[in-house]
Symmetry: C2
Subunit: 358 residues, 2 copies
């Protein structure tokens, strides 16, 4: 139901894709114009992302990461537009202790992939963040060669306030990169306990970078990380370090043999690589291709992805439940009060919980 009106906003409304606007007044024409433009922007942004425009992709990721309510709505609209074009990349998680050379590996490996025609998107840890353990030389010297590649897209994330550089929006960022046509996704994370399990839950292949000296390396490792890995790379296998690196690789192969495989049907293995001399990078790609072939054959590839999506959904439900529960300041205070009573032995845990929910 449109009414004749002199104001331009009315024309916008009449042009609108969705004509129904019952119950709305024309008293705020500016709001209407704004709304209309934003709808167009999201569509354009979606198209630009799909066309492989890197600036558009950056903008889209920023929108996804925004905590502004209006942005959140737009982000979901954008993501829904792009959903049909997602899922076609191989998703690779890369972890390792600080100093293992994650960024130099990604730089060398990504550049090699670009040169053989792959389109590579990297979710990297921002080295300017003090906790990341990244290069102290700053962002500019990081992945210098890779960012110059036409087929590469590097998105740095601050590790502060996140789980080892990975956060709740990383999964959605991955989907955006896939819609933009990237076929290899490298997700960097620094080992901070839970981040590896989290990243394992969103990738197809989980790669662990280590240095020579299996003992020392294992010593510093968080629990169970090795068992999450589909592949281990003994890094910096160059110069005097070449022989020890080969030996370490053998040691890891032996240990991996004892552990349960991270991916059913795939025997996790170890390789030695020099990113500086660019030796062994092709073997890493061969391993990934063999992995993809093996795991797609059993259909576990799709099964895992469905499971990951389902788990994501249910863990977001749980997060939401916990957030709204603890988000209430009065409730929070009550929790603290009961916690105190329990820790002082005046109340059983069950009594505390029952009292909270009464």
């Amino acid at each position: 139901m449109t009414m004749p009106h002199q104001d331009q906003s009315a024309l916008f409304v009449m042009d609108g894709v969705k004509g129904g606007h019952d119950g709305m007044s024309y008293s705020n024409p500016k709001k209407f114009r704004k709304k209309k433009q934003e709808v167009l922007d999201i569509e354009k942004l979606a198209n630009d992302v799909r066309a492989g425009d890197r600036t558009a992709l950056s903008k889209a990721i920023t929108l996804i990461e925004s905590s502004n309510t209006e942005h959140k709505e737009q982000a979901q609209k954008l993501l829904q537009e792009l959903l049909p074009y997602t899922g076609n990349a191989i998703r690779i998680g890369i972890t390792g202790v600080p100093g293992a050379g994650k960024s130099s590996f990604i730089e060398a490996f990504g550049t090699m992939l670009c040169k053989i025609g792959k389109r590579v998107a990297v979710l990297a840890i921002d080295p300017s963040s003090s906790l990341s353990g990244g290069s102290i030389l700053g962002d500019k010297t990081r992945m210098e060669e890779l960012v110059r590649q036409e087929n590469a897209f590097v998105r740095p994330s601050p590790s502060a306030g996140t789980l080892g550089g990975v956060h709740k929006k990383s999964r959605e960022t991955m989907l955006l990169c896939e819609a933009a046509g990237y076929d290899v996704l490298l997700i960097e994370t620094v080992g901070v306990g839970q981040s590896e399990t989290y990243v394992r839950g969103m990738v197809d292949f989980f790669l662990l970078l280590v240095l020579t000296g299996a003992g020392d390396e294992l010593q510093g490792m968080k629990k169970g990380i090795m068992e999450l890995a589909d592949g281990i790379i003994v890094h910096k296998a160059d110069g005097d370090n070449l022989r020890p690196a080969r030996r370490t690789m053998q040691e890891y192969k032996q240990i991996l043999h004892f552990l349960q495989p991270s991916t059913p049907g795939w025997l996790s293995t170890a390789l030695s690589v020099s990113s500086m001399e660019k030796v062994g990078l092709d073997k890493v790609w061969d391993m990934l291709m063999e992995f993809e072939q093996t795991v797609k054959k059993t259909n576990y590839w799709n099964i895992r992805r469905r499971e990951q999506t389902r788990d994501w959904f249910h863990s977001m439900i749980t997060d939401q439940l916990i957030d709204s529960f603890y988000g209430n300041p009065e409730r929070k205070q009550q929790v603290r009060k009961f916690e105190d009573e329990i820790l002082h032995g005046r109340l059983t845990v069950t009594q505390g919980v029952n009292a909270l929910f009464d």
Copy 2:
């Protein structure tokens, strides 16, 4: 405010510790009598438990495990009475794959402890449950010697419907055993993935039983269990198996050296034991005593227990939130609907969650 009344129930009410019964009618005297008796019972039960009466302790555990609403209230009342007398035992979790000989170890170790004057309570897996991996000879031949000891209390739990024989009430059962004066608690669990992490979260010391052949053994092991262990026992170190068991023990010691300790300040170690020949059991007790001394010195003993109680409280809150969310059948149907939409790529995960909570 008591009123003269001919019915006997009135006398009960007048005798009641808590006299106030405003708003209640005398139309159901039987209910009143029942209430009164139960109040007395809980107090008596608490006293009997504290006096070390094993029948009372059994009854108390059954009450704790009951899902009847009235029983639940009584159970919490009982537990609160007993709370001041808890916390004085060493809590030991015992795990291992089926066939590792958990029950024969507990039988031999527990009996030895009783003979040196310790009071030992065992939360054991009921072998009549098919999933337990326990003896097929049935309950009677299990821990036969131990149950005859005056200082022992053995409580079997069905493993069906529980996490490897351990369930949500096991923590409260432990508290009851402590109130009853038991100073060593042995909590048996069979490895079913998450049960070990769960048990690790409720004990001071986590003991892993393995057999010879570290490779095979590790192969069958769930992820990360080894890293949870404070000690590993290579079991059945007797006869022809003695030498291989010693070798395996050395292998485990080496592997443990590579892993992060489960308890800060304590270097997890391996021992070889024969429960049949009763060899090495004293070494296990020495290890436990050394552990207690070491960990109490740094105060981590208390810190961990407080953390465990706090975690227990918050995980019960989360459970309660999830239960009430999914417990609603309408909600459950909605979740399934949105899950379907998401898995078919028609909705983003965030949209699905937002729609659910709107």
